[in-house]
Symmetry: C2
Subunit: 212 residues, 2 copies
């Protein structure tokens, strides 16, 4: 059954750490209460991506947190994860849905109302919209205004998450916008203490945004 | 039904040409008699790889020549090609077989008897073995001796192709080894006249290697 909670969606970045430290940080984030995890790898071979996906999946399964694989449906299927996230440069949503079936979580990235509607009509289960703030985790960042985010939230009936440079201190800007949650990379991944960082973010999402 | 003839297996390299010229060359190779085509892309996004796969598949379907996608099972499934080729850094053969089913062509790369046996036992339909000669199409080339190629041919009951720097003038070295065919990239891709190059290679495969 497809069930997921996107309120605190942790997107990983393994490029900064050795594998053991990376996995320790993912586990700490799960201990701190992240509700959804995405593995995002751009530089690895297929075999390496698969092996890391399996290692992270071993962790997320213990916490009953769905694991989403960025871009690669082949890796998601091979590791039998709960979902895949498809950006505008990845497979079309409807193609992935046809191949993988209706019970899997398929997320999409949207920066405009048109992209949001198309993804929804093609069968996306949630949208990531941003970047709200500049971010260091992508080579080029195209910013999306909070007005656009709000508009997208009011256009599609699926959960919409905000993404891009978000942390516990700057998410106030999202107040009043009916998002389902926030996506964070650096705020947890690079934190001195990823568990505390996740806990503080979780509290901020409740206190500042009213997302329980 | 799974049916393929690997006697003249053309592996593409789109990095040297604009899309139109690339497709023109693939069509010329088909006109010249290549019996199997592999699309191999390393630098493209998933969406770009898929779009190119569809364009090449439109061509190969007209010639009733199977199209194999290198590395990416997701692309192969999305473009509904006839097969996928999986190297040692790609998905394990048995995983791909389980996902995609028994009717699809799944090829593997092997450089040792152990790798060849493992690929065969996991369900590979054919093997590519090499590099017989140094090649410019891969960043690092690890050479495989003709003795090893011969040994692999006598070890596994599936078709084995030789690969790596092969052209019509140097395939004599393969004479007497029970290969099923040759894989070529540059000898066709970079030829002044890809159609003639394919025709001449086809003739050499018959005349010099006795593969009809």
């Amino acid at each position: 059954m497809k069930k997921f909670n996107p309120r605190l969606y942790f997107i990983t970045d393994s490029t900064l750490y050795e594998k053991d430290e990376f996995l320790r940080r993912v586990k700490a984030a799960l201990d701190g209460g992240v509700t959804l995890v995405q593995l995002r790898e751009k530089e690895r071979t297929t075999r390496e991506y698969l092996e890391l996906a399996r290692a992270v999946h071993d962790l997320t399964l213990k916490y009953n947190v769905p694991l989403i694989i960025d871009d690669r449906l082949d890796i998601a299927m091979a590791a039998d994860t709960e979902g895949v996230h498809l950006g505008q440069s990845d497979l079309p949503i409807n193609i992935a849905r046809n191949i993988w079936g209706k019970d899997k979580i398929i997320g999409a990235t949207a920066k405009t109302v048109e992209q949001a509607l198309e993804a929804y009509e093609q069968g996306a289960d949630y949208l990531g919209v941003g970047a709200i703030y500049p971010t260091t985790t992508k080579v080029k960042t195209i910013l999306t205004s909070t007005e656009m985010l709000d508009k997208i939230c009011h256009t599609v009936p699926i959960p919409v998450n905000a993404i891009g440079g978000l942390n516990k201190d700057n998410i106030d800007v999202l107040k009043g916008i009916p998002i389902a949650g926030v996506c964070v990379v650096s705020a947890i991944m690079k934190a001195d203490d990823p568990k505390s960082a996740a806990e503080e973010l979780s509290k901020a999402v409740s206190d500042k945004l009213g997302i329980m």
